[in-house]
């Protein structure tokens, strides 16, 4: 009986200890090191698997009646300390132009009117924030694929980077897509939201829509699109502001 009693105490002490160890252990294992690398590899595996599963499938589109009554604006809802953007904002971006450069045959300057004159895609889609909330809105703009074709991607191009006017502190926002997601039919440069010009809070003059990705990929206030062979050497090297600053997954399909 004493034997069993002590074993029982040992067991419960062990259970408590395991709980405590699990907690402090998980915090320690989250620090940069071999274990975190394993976790990151497992998280990154969703990229390859979801690429294989999703193929060219389109994100669900919704009816007008399903749209959010109020579409929450989050992240940066205005641009501060970017003279060029502010200058254009004063006259509704009439003289603003989107730069397309990097590994392209023909660098382009596309004014807002030119983007509006291209064949358009309008889509009512669900926006899923990494935090967990969802909102449905209508987005309209030219598809990114034909624009990249106009510029002529060089064979060495692997990533499309979106440079933005907004910043967190002194760090500019940016995001990136691989070529498959960049050429997806629902990947558009939206200048209109809910049938009105894109509001400043949602990223005027244009915002990227990449409908099979979480919200942080949908870069707002896009000023320049750059084709690159690698994400290394650009800011933190992880392909996006939140990826660099917080360690969010670059593949935001989950």
């Amino acid at each position: 009986m004493t034997d069993q009693f002590s074993r029982r105490r040992l067991l419960s002490a062990g259970a408590l200890g395991t709980g405590g160890l699990l907690l402090s252990g998980c915090d320690r294992l989250s620090q940069p090191g071999p274990f975190r690398s394993v976790l990151e590899a497992a998280a990154d595996a969703h990229y390859g698997v979801q690429r294989g599963i999703a193929g060219d499938a389109l994100a669900a589109e919704f009816a007008v009646s399903q749209m959010s009554p109020v579409f929450r604006a989050n992240g940066n809802t205005n641009v501060k300390g970017h003279a060029e953007w502010s200058g254009h904002g004063a006259d509704q971006f009439a003289r603003w132009a989107l730069k397309i450069d990097g590994l392209v045959l023909r660098p382009l300057d596309l004014p807002l009117d030119a983007l509006r004159a291209m064949p358009q895609r309008a889509q009512i889609t669900r926006h899923d924030c990494v935090e967990g909330w969802s909102a449905i809105g209508k987005w309209q703009g030219p598809q990114l694929g034909p624009i990249l074709k106009m510029a002529g991607l060089l064979p060495s191009a692997r990533y499309i980077v979106f440079h933005c006017a907004d910043r967190f502190g002194s760090t500019p926002y940016y995001e990136s897509l691989d070529l498959i997601e960049a050429h997806h039919p629902q990947t558009i440069l939206a200048w209109a939201m809910n049938d009105k010009p894109l509001p400043v809070a949602h990223g005027a003059p244009i915002r990227l829509r990449a409908e099979r990705q979480l919200g942080y990929k949908h870069a707002k206030y896009v000023m320049r699109i750059e084709a690159r062979s690698s994400l290394a050497g650009l800011y933190g090297g992880k392909g996006g502001y939140w990826e660099d600053a917080r360690g969010y997954q670059w593949w935001a399909g989950i």
């Binding site: 067991l11 998980c26 394993v38 979801q50 999703a54 399903q66 969802s134 099979r212």
Partner: protein, 266 residues
């Protein structure tokens, strides 16, 4: 031991029975092999994985602790439930980091999903589900259920041969976890992934939309917590050393009781 014996209720063992020729050594404990290797491996793997999924999930909840029904739901919309901020001792990591919580959650999700899929498939192949976990029709009769509930409430646990098999409340609890809660957690988790939504548009639809899937995900996780509390309580009450040993080594000492002779005879 594991065969389709008629379900013995706790009082049936009090009935008179054939007395064996030789008197039994009452002090000799009767050991039975209670849990297969696959069950033991999965149990402990799943215990660790569920703890990580749950605690990292609570941190993810902290990022937006509001639940909705339907496709949409954000701050301007009506939440059906506003959750508290879960404290650091309950979350992974212990201080706020949505990114690190997601890293743990979606990395370990591979093991979580694969383990339940393999264990379910193997339990169908080896008959564990059908023979050990399937509630029999007679067990589901209100009278039998009520008797089992009363026995549990009175902390009167099966002894002897009856203790070698699962009683109906155990079967219902284990089937609920194995066949309902864990698979639903995997499916509703997948239903929240935007790229998988494109691949399987029907997946969020069957739950009534992405935010409904998120709500069901949370409800199922709550179900797992409730199961855990009852499970641990029952293990402690039924004899933690014997119960834990049986899930480690497989060997379970049949609790001596009026049914002891029957068990030994068998």
């Amino acid at each position: 031991m594991r065969g389709d014996l008629p379900s013995a209720d706790f009082t049936a063992s009090l009935a008179p029975m054939d007395i064996p020729e030789a008197p039994l050594q009452v002090s000799q404990p009767v050991m039975v092999k209670r849990h297969r290797l696959s069950t033991r491996l999965w149990h402990w793997l799943n215990a660790a994985v569920v703890a990580i999924m749950l605690m990292s999930g609570l941190m993810i909840s902290n990022a937006h602790p509001r639940l909705y029904w339907g496709h949409i739901g954000a701050n301007p919309d009506k939440a059906w439930l506003e959750l508290p901020q879960f404290p650091g001792w309950a979350t992974i990591p212990s201080t706020y980091s949505l990114a690190d919580a997601r890293l743990w959650h979606i990395a370990i999700a591979w093991i979580f999903g694969a383990a339940i899929a393999v264990y379910l498939a193997w339990s169908m192949v080896n008959g564990h589900l059908w023979r050990d976990l399937r509630p029999r029709l007679a067990e589901l009769s209100p009278a039998h259920l009520w008797q089992d509930i009363k026995a549990h409430a009175a902390l009167r646990f099966p002894t002897g041969e009856a203790a070698a098999r699962y009683n109906v409340l155990q079967k219902l609890a284990y089937c609920g976890v194995l066949l309902v809660l864990l698979p639903l957690l995997v499916l509703t988790g997948m239903a929240m992934a935007p790229a998988l939504n494109a691949a399987f548009p029907w997946l969020p639809e069957i739950f009534g939309g992405r935010q409904s899937a998120r709500s069901i995900h949370f409800i199922c996780a709550t179900g797992i917590v409730l199961f855990f509390i009852v499970h641990i309580t029952m293990v402690v009450l039924a004899g933690p050393v014997n119960e834990v040993r049986s899930m480690v080594t497989g060997w379970f000492r049949l609790p001596p009781g009026p049914a002891e002779k029957e068990a030994a005879h068998d």
